[in-house]
Symmetry: C2
Subunit: 218 residues, 2 copies
């Protein structure tokens, strides 16, 4: 069965999934890059995102590796795709990830501003959708052809899909830092845990991997 | 050396240390009692707080047991002591804990309203202080006679002592529930982690024990 998953989504102790002032110089907001300190050193990130050998193994890498398994499509918000706001001025911005992005499947970018699909190297095609979470999921699931659909982020998109009751499995990484400002992930999700089995696995890096698995299959 | 400690302080995923609407019927605020689901079943809570035999052993009980070790005095906020607000109408309210409270040492209650000390059974005496965190600590440390001083709570008191840079060791229990409303603990503590070594230990109960140990001794 094709599941809708959130994976490797990092959140600060005070519940922020990104820092404030996201933009070209701060893709994850000011201070937000600290949320990924557990992820960058892993063998999986080094190989899948940086195209390098080496990197750490262990609990963090195990979760990182699983986050890339069995994915047929991604969904992300426009602020995760790039720093451009409002109507697209041209086709210059093609994402943060260079000519060969680390997705290798269709990626559906939620935006209120139309844009033609963008075919990249390595199998990634960015499609731009102005639609509801439920409809975006339907489109992505069709493209995923039986594999899972992953929500990349940012926090607002994760929250919207959770609020709509669409997420089957979520892996959140609790990072013991206090950001103070930014984009909150938990707002409006009171008692979310009632719908999920929750497990916690801590890592020597200091982070905790929380997995939420939906109690009743969708 | 006498340390100032916070122990077994439970916080929701969205950063609340108590639910909303604290009062006689909801000592921890609405929904706040869920924050203690890891603690109540432990052998330590059953013995030290309920005066009963039995209870669970394991990671949660290990942390619970350590939370009671080497304590010479406690500090707590007035809202942890009881539901009475404003000037004390009389001496009727003597805390939530009955004639023999589970402290057995001097307890300093921070309040803007004067009240004579209250001697209970079993070695607990409640003293009422209208003063700053630093001065309250000085008073409590003298009473502790070389043992540690523990801040019981609530969230506002913990936050005030953290903001004043007075906390040497903090054990926070991250509970994977979303409360949505209540009293936040992390507000105003941006980059708190810079001053501490942080360790995470998850438990089969689903909670994670985070310990913050100050990098430089005070």
């Amino acid at each position: 069965m094709s599941r809708l998953r959130v994976n490797a989504f990092s959140v600060s102790a005070d519940g922020f999934g990104a820092g404030p002032d996201q933009g070209r110089d701060h893709p994850l907001g000011r201070g937000g890059e600290q949320l990924h300190n557990w992820f960058i050193p892993t063998r999986t990130f080094q190989r899948n995102v940086q195209g390098r050998a080496g990197g750490t193994t262990g609990v963090d890498d195990d979760f990182a590796a699983r986050s890339f398994e069995n994915l047929g499509a991604w969904i992300m918000g426009r602020n995760m795709f790039g720093p451009v706001r409002g109507p697209w001025p041209d086709d210059e911005w093609k994402g943060w990830w260079g000519a060969n992005p680390p997705y290798h499947v269709p990626v559906f970018v939620l935006t209120h501003h139309e844009r033609a699909p963008l075919e990249m190297e390595g199998g990634t095609t960015f499609h731009f959708l102005d639609t509801t979470p439920a409809e975006a999921l339907e489109t992505a699931r069709e493209a995923a052809d039986g594999q899972d659909v992953r929500i990349g982020g940012g926090p607002t998109v994760v929250r919207d899909f959770l609020a709509a009751g669409l997420v089957d499995h979520m892996h959140v990484v609790q990072v013991p830092i206090v950001l103070g400002r930014g984009v909150r992930i938990w707002d409006g999700l009171e008692a979310l845990e009632d719908a999920y089995h929750v497990e916690a696995v801590s890592s020597p890096s200091g982070v905790t991997h929380l997995t939420f698995t939906r109690k009743v299959a969708s």
